[in-house]
Symmetry: C2
């Protein structure tokens, strides 16, 4: 068995069963191995930002890593921005990056580059495999590194001669280490805070925001009067009718300060104290007031679910009921397109068990309020602030969850970083309904210009914020990549297109001019 | 004057007068500076791979750097793959990358990343500016580093508080150091080789491939009987009627070996001895035979033009005539679309002084032969093997050369890495005619699969090479980004569309189904 085959068989044995890829010549022997190992599903992207963003979406929904297969330094480089987002999402990903044959590197041919250097800024684990006999071990080490709680990016670089040489072995995945628990005193400290009667908030993240973790947090909050918050950058948040209500911290600092001002205690579970995304001259970036005690109950990578259960036990709250969100949808709106109307339509029509991928930027502000009483669903956000994640993330979420509907909310500015994802949606027949809010602006930047106190932007600055010359035509773009698309001009039209999208057997796209 | 303004004024004073950009919030103060400094032309790209590829194309044609303005780590990361190509092209580029305010970095907010680490693999010079009072000096140092012969990538990282603080000064550009000359003995050595009567080739690169350098090389070749070659990865090659003929080294090793087998001496001017792009099991990668003496006349970064002139003087050839390529165009072809027919149409119609950007991959093989007797033109290729360069490169070349026509030859696979460049072409009204060869394949990979001796690819491997499911519709894609487009079904149709493109006041696109 050659190195390539032993690597792929090791990955499959280690429950890495999906490969998002854009391969090249130096990865051909790995492609040949994939050719004969049908247990690994291969999903092609036409650009590597699609590949890495999809691996992120897959990991968020499946709680295990996919692998990517990327072509040398440039292929990895093209995937870096969405690896930035994935590193902030703290999800597991195993990158496989091809490298020239070891004896070829010294010739400094055109595609030679420092792949380890390119990998390092966003990978917690980087290794170049040294021999076919070692690559099985390398593959297992990569999986273990990726699955280190809460989830990390591991990058394994595979020289072509390591891939094509004989002597590979399939290595079984060892038991994964359980995430650490906080000290008992730390849990007791949080229990004391919750018993104090002071106004207390829990800011929770990772797997505390869905499933057993969120249910536990919800019971705790209900019994103690504490309020649950999620960070602004949401990896995955379960919400909707019957689910514990969680409020998302706002992006705009003044709004976040308002959200948190009543609280005198903030307990962190895997999160850090909220700060402004960007600094402003002369402004503090903290969201919490100086009177608020910030307490780390579980540090990143500790066992969030176990910690919440231990806290529940410390408070003797095992039988506490959960006060889930009340069911309720907005009425179907009518008339001219408005942002509240669009949000109401989504709230009225969102299918049960949907996955909402949200990079709607300034246009989607009302979406979470309008959907809070909709049937249970998951909400995935942009975790790292590198725009261009929504379409790829939707691909990965849909591949991981073939029985669920995906609603992808994006904008014309953000969508144009990775539009190639539409092609993969069409190719794989993914049940994704994409909504593009076309405001012809980098609207965030216009707002930040004023927010930073510079005054009004002039003509040349506006030229860097306004992207409506020429106007992007998303119906044409989408059809060009095989995804049926429609432009709507009324809320009725939007609702009709949304309903048809949710009933379709494949992807669709709705352009909403604003 | 704040740091941002002093930086932009320093760049303009240092002849950096074009800024390709996709800015974000952390660069807002730099945008505000650009707002009031009209001497810097700003060109917006919707994706950073367009921005960096355009800076490369600009540098190839203008022989001086443009700057880029990029948003934090992810913005730089999105531009890396075309910086890989630019680093191999050895062109000057000054990257300006925003950074959080220094006092904000410690909070590890979502967009924090190791920007220097991301920059380093492709930048020969990296610095983070420390104060508004220093950034003028930093800007000048960046320009000097970028213009270090033959041309380098310099990356200056600008924290937001450095940009917004007062105390900036405009620093004038010092005299640039002249590139070094080889030792006299080295030049004498080459002269001796050329006098020997042995079959000799000169492999030349950089600015020896156009203008005075190429004319000198052409006279030398004509007088001594040596043959001129260019590396397969062409940064810029002047060619056509009356220009010294230069043969490009082939991509396929066996063909390159055939090209070079008659030569017993190979003299290198800024180039390295040709090697196969990729290693193959059990195959040598060298193109030259063991009997061929390989001699470095000018090392990368030395004065190629001065070296050729010194060699001419050493051989007393100042009055030697130049035997330029004979004028001659193919006849306009007719009938069904074939690759030779497409090449003939380009050869028949290419306007004088055109710039051809060539990433036509497997579909464009006959293009150089068919255009060798066309009116003088420049040929720009993919220098680093990271595909997705053609459309951005065409943008930059057109911005640098507003009086020249640009013909951009790309393919459906390569074009999809950076299609967003079409939007910038439309926005700037650039005179670029893009031809997309749509073979619905990563055809190179199919060939390499067989070439590497693995046999025939199976269904799953083919799925990673064939991109025709769904078919990309480039007419839709192009119109979606504001560029008029047509699909042609005959050679007559292709010639008509090509002629109309060359006469148009703005960009156009021709999809050629293969």
């Amino acid at each position: 068995m050659n190195g390539a085959e032993s690597l792929i068989r090791t990955l499959v044995a280690g429950e890495v069963e999906t490969c998002f890829t854009n391969p090249g010549t130096s990865e051909i022997h790995i492609v040949a191995a994939l050719d004969k190992i049908p247990e690994m599903r291969c999903v092609l992207g036409l650009f590597e930002g699609v590949v890495t963003g999809a691996a992120d979406g897959y990991a968020r929904m499946s709680e295990k890593p996919a692998c990517t297969l990327l072509h040398l330094g440039p292929g990895l480089a093209n995937g870096l921005a969405n690896l930035h987002n994935a590193s902030r999402a703290q999800v597991p990903i195993v990158n496989i990056v091809g490298q020239h044959a070891t004896f070829h590197l010294g010739y400094d041919t055109p595609l030679v580059s420092d792949i380890e250097g390119i990998a390092r800024p966003y990978s917690k684990w980087v290794r170049t495999s040294s021999a076919a006999s070692e690559i099985g071990n390398d593959g297992v080490d990569a999986i273990v590194a990726a699955r280190m709680a809460p989830g990390q990016i591991a990058t394994l670089i595979v020289p072509a001669d390591v891939a094509w040489s004989e002597g590979g072995t399939v290595v079984p995945l060892p038991d994964l280490p359980a995430p650490a628990m906080p000290a008992t005193a730390t849990i007791e400290g949080a229990a004391t805070m919750l018993r104090s009667g002071m106004r207390t908030a829990l800011l929770i993240s990772g797997n505390a925001l869905y499933g057993k973790g969120l249910a536990t947090a919800g019971r705790l909050a209900n019994a103690t009067g504490a309020k649950l918050f999620a960070p602004y950058p949401i990896t995955r948040l379960e919400r909707g009718s019957g689910i514990a209500p969680v409020e998302r911290i706002q992006y705009v600092r003044e709004m976040g300060v308002e959200q948190l001002k009543e609280f005198r205690q903030l307990i962190l579970v895997g999160a850090s104290a909220p700060r402004a995304y960007f600094a402003s001259p002369g402004k503090d970036s903290a969201f919490t007031s100086s009177e608020c005690k910030v307490y780390t109950l579980a540090a990143p990578g500790e066992d969030y679910v176990g910690t919440l259960e231990a806290l529940e036990a410390a408070l003797s709250l095992h039988q506490a009921p959960l006060a889930g969100e009340k069911a309720g949808r907005p009425q179907l709106p009518a008339g001219e397109i408005t942002l509240p109307g669009l949000a109401a339509a989504v709230g009225a029509l969102l299918p049960e068990n949907a996955i909402v991928v949200d990079e709607s930027m300034t246009s989607g502000r009302g979406m979470m309020a309008a959907t809070k009483g909709a049937p249970p669903h998951d909400w995935l956000g942009n975790t790292g602030g590198s725009i261009g994640i929504a379409l790829p993330l939707a691909v990965g979420a849909a591949v991981a969850s073939p029985d669920r509907r995906v609603l992808c909310l994006t904008a014309d500015g953000s969508g144009m970083y990775t539009p190639q994802a539409l092609w993969t949606m069409a190719r794989e027949g993914l049940k994704i309904t994409t909504v593009v809010f076309a405001n012809h602006d980098y609207a965030v930047l216009k707002r930040e210009f004023s927010y930073l106190g510079i005054g009004d932007p002039g003509r040349r600055a506006l030229n860097m914020f306004e992207i409506g010359r020429p106007e992007l035509d998303w119906v044409h773009l989408s059809k060009g990549m095989g995804v049926p698309a429609v432009r709507v001009t009324s809320l009725e039209g939007f609702s009709k297109a949304l309903r048809e999208g949710f009933e379709s057997e494949g992807p669709s796209l709705i352009e909403v001019p604003l």
